[in-house]
């Protein structure tokens, strides 16, 4: 299993690792990521954590045995960095984490993690939701679904119009 690739965006007045994106095969621990963001700090009033998990049924209610996530190494991290920088221009964030897994997942497995920290809850909530919406439509990941009891190697998930609509609501002007 390759080591997770790490990318850091610094700001002079923030801890060195306040903003971080990672793409990895391993399971992440939401609590470790969140603790890392707020430990020893007294300027954070709100932390929002979003975890996206693999469900046992797809968006149409069809049973699902597993998901395989393919990604574009290099671009995935760069695009997630760009999303994070965009979020920082929009909201006063004290820190953030974006972690996205690739590989095969079974129902119950965590897939994606977004953590945002801010002095105020409104900024933390809005930035987390913005990051998730844009991750879905902009981060180069693709899901393939395996059905229970089928021998075929799976079906590529089609992009949802509702995801585009969710991302579009953040468009400026």
């Amino acid at each position: 299993m390759p080591a997770p690739s790490v990318s850091t965006l610094d700001a002079a007045d923030l801890p060195l690792d306040a903003f971080q994106v990672r793409v990895q095969a391993e399971v992440f621990d939401a609590s470790t990521e969140t603790t890392g963001l707020v430990a020893g700090r007294t300027d954070v009033g709100a932390v929002v954590t979003f975890t996206g998990l693999c469900r046992a049924d797809d968006q149409n209610g069809t049973p699902l045995a597993a998901l395989t996530l393919e990604h574009y190494p290099g671009m995935a991290e760069e695009e997630m960095d760009r999303l994070l920088q965009e979020a920082r221009t929009r909201w006063p964030l004290s820190g953030a984490r974006l972690v996205h897994r690739y590989g095969r997942m079974v129902p119950g497995d965590p897939i994606v993690l977004v953590v945002t920290a801010s002095a105020h809850r409104g900024a933390a909530f809005a930035a987390a939701e913005f990051l998730m919406d844009w991750l879905k439509t902009n981060a180069p990941f693709w899901k393939k679904e395996e059905r229970p009891g089928t021998a075929a190697d799976g079906t590529w998930v089609e992009a949802k119009g509702t995801d585009d609509a969710a991302a579009d609501r953040w468009q400026k002007g």
Binding site: L69, H71, M75, V112, L135, K136, N138, W142
Partner: protein, 83 residues
């Protein structure tokens, strides 16, 4: 230049990446997609509906009319379904 394929485009083309030398009249991302489709076989299948193919030039999302000039790497893929 290097061309990468992901998801069902990769499966249809049959390779994850390849090196191509398009002629000078292939100037845009759309031109390149058309030129690749004209090769027939897996490429024709992958690009049969250009409207559902997205592209990134040197790891940045681009529109079909983006110019290729100077790019080292282009990727073709379906709409993203991560998150």
């Amino acid at each position: 230049m290097k061309v990468l394929y992901f998801a069902w485009l990769r499966e249809r083309v049959g390779v994850a990446e390849e090196q191509v030398e398009p002629p000078v009249e292939v100037r845009t991302v759309a031109d390149l997609a058309g030129w690749l489709r004209a090769r027939g076989g897996g490429h024709a299948h992958a690009f049969e509906n250009p409207a559902v193919v997205r592209a990134a030039l040197d790891r940045r999302h681009v529109k079909p009319d983006a110019l290729l000039h100077g790019a080292r790497e282009i990727a073709f893929f379906p709409p993203m379904t991560g998150g």
